[in-house]
Each structure stands twice: as C-alpha cells, then as structure tokens.
C-alpha cells in the first residue's frame, strides 16, 4: 500500500499542492494527467528522489517520508528507461543486487530475465537494443531487487504504437502474475482505462479526481476533466426547472438544462448554474427525428466529417456545435455528406451534469 497525506513538493517554480492518495496493496494504479501536471515530480517524491516540503509518505505500514531513496525498496522506471550505458544487459539487471552473494544474484538475474524474456540478450551491450527490449530490461532491473512497490513513469510513451499495444498486454500479464503495488504515470487515457484498477487525474500540481476508471470517465468532476478525458460536448448554462421524481420509473428526466436557445432534458439534483457533458459516442445521428420521451432531439446541419478508421467524427451545428462519433458502418448506412440536415438524439441519462 502507498499512502500520501497532504504531500507538497516543489521543483523550481512548479509545486505539488497537498496531495492525498491511497493506493491499495496489489493495485495497478494509474496517475493520469497532461504534460506538466506534476506526475513525474510526484513519482520522484514517492521514490525519495525529492524531499516533500510537507506531508507524509507511507509505504505499507512504514512512514518513509524521511527515508533516503536507497532504503525505500521502491522499483522505479523512467520513460526513456535510462539503462546504464557502460554496463551489459546482465550487469544492468544485476545492478540492484550488489548486496547479495554472487550466486544468489546470478540466480535472481536468471529468474527475472526468464520472466521478461531477456535470456538471449544478457551479454549484449545496451546500445543498439530496440525500444521494447530496453523497456523490458529497465523493468527487469527495477524488479530484480524485489521492491515493495513499482513506480513507472510513462513506461509506454517511448514505444512505437504496435510495440506499445504488445507491451501494455505484457505489463498487465506481469502485474497479474506478481500482484505488486504499482503506480503507472501516463497522459494517455486509453492506456489508463485498459490498465488501471484505480486512477487519479492530476492537473497543475493537484489531484483533481481519483477513483475507479469507469466512474472517473463517466462522471468527470470538472470542465478540465471532461475536456481532458475526451468528453467533448461540454456546455455551460443553468438548470432551470426541477420537475422532481425518481428517475427510472416512468420519468426519464427530472430537469431542464438551458444554455441560450439550447434546452436539454437532464437528470439533475438541483437548480442553478451548471455544466453538462455528453460523450460523443452517446449521440445518435439520424435523418428523421426519433420520438421518445427519454430522448433529447435536436435538428442540425453536418458541418464537418473527419474519418479516422474505424470511427467517423461528425461536427453537427444544432444550436450549438455537437461532436458525434459513429462507426464507419453506421456512417455509411446513414449516407450523408457535409451540409446534410440531420437529427441528433441522446438520452437524458447520458448527459453528465456537474
């Protein structure tokens, strides 16, 4: 388990502000955030490479706040792997085993290199190895001394897209095998969705939301999060009328959201100013209006069509510009072009009010 209590840290002008996090034992925890949000700084602070200005860091049941990095037993891997260029692969992996007897260290190197499929590379120099190989060696080096937790800083970012997919699968398989408490830093939310048991989103030195990935993605807690997580249809306005009643039995919405001429049926707790977000894949596009009380129906005009297989992104001007995402098949079945008149519809429950 890793627990951060009000941790603040700074690097030059940049500062982490009062970070509170709890990573359960055996968890694959993803720290998600845009570049410059302080993810690496936080990871280095957990590893002891930076001293927090305040707060406490606990690893399992030990307060490690004052402990030097060499005594924390933390496995750490940087985005660009940083293998020691003056050593062979074998000596890189064995680097953290310097306190063990030579035969024990040899055995451990063998074990870890079998686990990460590096047996054939042990006597190579690190220059000239592929990105995927370097990544596995860096991981083997971090795992060899049997750390209590594993901290991975953008472990997939330096790989080409094909290798990335494969290595992502390998990381997941490795985690399922070792069940080591892991923090994985990334700016890629697809990566986060696939890997995370739990995640936290960081922005400008703060944790802005933490929880299970599904919850964070479905219910982003701020406009920043909605935009960052790819919820593109974000509108600001007011909840003007609370109808009341239980959602789900008979009524499918209980309030009206108003943003200028745009009016939407939504599910909301109370009146007042609010923002709404609709994920692009929740929007149905059709040539005729679909009638149902559960639906928001808006007439609009297709302004832009962006094809990036297997999906098509439509920008539809319907009072406000909406982004909808369709599969290529449904797009072709619709048979529309830019300028076409269409209807967009989405459920009240698909609108996230915040």
């Amino acid at each position: 388990m890793i627990r951060l209590l009000n941790v603040a840290s700074s690097a030059g002008a940049f500062a982490l502000r009062s970070i509170n996090l709890e990573v359960p034992s055996g968890d694959y925890f993803v720290l998600l955030g845009p570049t410059g949000s302080g993810k690496t700084l936080l990871l280095e602070t957990i590893a002891g490479l930076r001293t927090p200005t305040s707060g406490e860091i606990w690893i399992h049941d030990q307060n490690v706040t004052e402990l030097a990095p060499e005594h924390r037993r933390v496995g750490f891997m940087y985005q660009d792997y940083l293998l020691f260029p003056h050593l062979t692969v074998r000596r890189n992996i064995a680097f953290g085993l310097h306190r063990q007897a030579a035969n024990e260290a040899d055995e451990r190197v063998k074990q870890v290199s079998r686990l990460l499929k590096l047996d054939g590379l042990l006597d190579r120099r690190v220059a000239g190895l592929s990105g995927g190989e370097k990544q596995r060696i860096a991981l083997a080096r971090a795992l060899a001394p049997q750390p209590r937790v594993l901290l991975l800083d953008e472990p997939l970012a330096a790989l080409d897209p094909q290798t990335r997919q494969q290595v992502r699968r390998e990381l997941l398989a490795l985690h399922n095998e070792l069940k080591m408490t892991t923090i994985h830093v990334t700016h890629d939310f697809e990566e986060a969705l696939v890997l995370a048991d739990h995640l936290a989103v960081m922005n400008a030195g703060e944790v802005v939301q933490a929880g299970e990935p599904d919850v964070v993605f479905r219910r982003p807690a701020s406009p920043f999060l909605a935009r960052f997580l790819g919820v593109e249809n974000v509108f600001r306005g007011r909840i003007v009328r609370c109808i009341g009643g239980e959602v789900g039995d008979g009524t499918s919405f209980n309030a009206i959201f108003e943003s200028g001429p745009l009016k939407l049926s939504v599910v909301a707790e109370c009146e007042g100013s609010a923002r709404v977000a609709i994920r692009p894949e929740e929007i149905t596009v059709s040539k005729e209006p679909l009638h149902s009380s559960a639906l928001n129906n808006l007439a609009g005009i297709v302004k832009n069509i962006e094809k990036s297989s297997p999906l098509v992104r439509l920008t539809i001007e319907a009072i406000q510009p909406f982004i909808a995402v369709l599969t290529v098949q449904s797009f072709e079945a619709l048979d529309i072009a830019a300028g076409a008149k269409v209807w967009i519809s989405f459920k009240a429950t698909a609108i996230h009010v915040f």
């Binding site: 490479l49 792997y81 940083l82 260029p85 953290g96 001394p145």
Partner: protein, 263 residues
Amino acid sequence: MKKPSGLTVIFSLLGACVVVFLLAPILKMILSAQPGSLAEALADVEVRRAILLTFGCATWAAVLGALTGVPLAYLLARRTFPGKHFIEALVDVPVVIPHPVAGIALLLVFGRQFFGGRFFDHFGLSFIGTVPGIVVAMLFVSTSFLVNASRDGFAQVDPRLENVARTLGYGPLATFFSVSLPLSWRNVLSGGIMMWARAISEFGAIVIITYNPKVASVLIYDRFTTYGLTYALPLAVILILLTLSVFALLRSISYRASGVRAS
C-alpha cells in the same frame, strides 16, 4: 568538382596563417636540433634529472588535483549553492594571471614567514627551493584544466541515471563511484592529462618559488641565459617531443570519448 565559395577561400587563407604560425616555430626547432646533440643532452645527468623531476612533480600535482578537483567539479556540475559562480570564476583565474604573479602570490602564502608555510612547517614540509614548492606551483596553474573538464563530464551524465541507482539501493557515494565516475572517466582522464601537460610546461610560477632543484623549463632558461641557444636547444627539443607525445595521447582519448555516452 564544385568551385569553392568565396567564404571558403578567404577563411582558408586566413586560417592557414594561424596553422603556419603555430607549426613553423615548432617544426623549425625540432629540425634544427642535431641528433648527436640530442643524444648528448640525454646523456647529461642534470638534463635527465630535470626531466624526471618535472614529470614526477607534474604527476604529484595531477594526483593531488584529482583528489581535490574532481569532487569540486562534481559539486559544480550537480549542486547549486551560494558562491557557485564565484568559485567557477576562481577556478579559471590561474589561467588568466601572469604566472610569475602566481608564483609571488604563492610565495606570500607558502613562504616560511606566512601562515601556509608555518602550518606545513609542523609536518616538516617547506616550499621555498624544494620539490613540494614545484608541486604547489604546478598545482596552482594547472588544476583549472582538470576541474573544468571533469565538471563538463559530470554535467553530461543524466542526473536521472543517478536517481535510478539510488532507487536500486546505492547511497550517494556508491552512486558516484558506480555511475557518475564510470560515465565521465574519459573527461576526467583527459582533464588530468591536460593538467599534467600544463604542469610540465610551467615555468613562471616555479622559477619564483623554486629555482633549484631545476625542472626542465627552468634548466632550459638557465642554459639559454648562461651558455646561449646551442646549449638550450637540444633540451628544448627533448621537452617538446615528450609533451607532444603526451598531447597526442590526450587527443586520441578525447576523440574516442565523443559518442560513447549515447545509451
């Protein structure tokens, strides 16, 4: 063949002046020495003693410089602290002050009536007219080469490599010896050789502190003023051939050093 541009022609002509200016005196000197006179000079006990003394003292200076200058270089490359810019400038000062001035300055500290001299007197060390005096003079004028080269070497090592070592159970000192130093040893070594070569060629500061025993440069000066060019020349040629071989070694090491750091 493509016609060279105007710039290439003009710059080549101007550049050639420097090359000729540097090469001509050295070549002329080497060529004007009779092989017989070189052998004769080498047979001279005083010459052999001066050369051995010079190389021995320069080696001592380089070792002492490495023990103190390399740690300083590491701090300059890695840490920020008050007075850092002052220290960086200070390291370069011996290169810019006239070396007899350096000699006088050293005299004012290491002379028997001054605090440095009195302090070391307790250990039986004196610096005026002695071998330790030569070493101190060499150290003063040449340490900056080692410090600057080592600092550049350390600065080129990604500090995150040191971070990785720390997370793998290495304390700061163990990290220095297992990561920082092995990755910058070529810079440190070439700085050391440069320092050594500079120490061998020193005259101005040494002649103030220790005229006798004579190092090679002082002996050349002594022969020149006492007996004239004919007697000074063979020794000068021997010294220049020796320093040139050292310099060739330095160049080959620093040449190989470029391009090994990429991982």
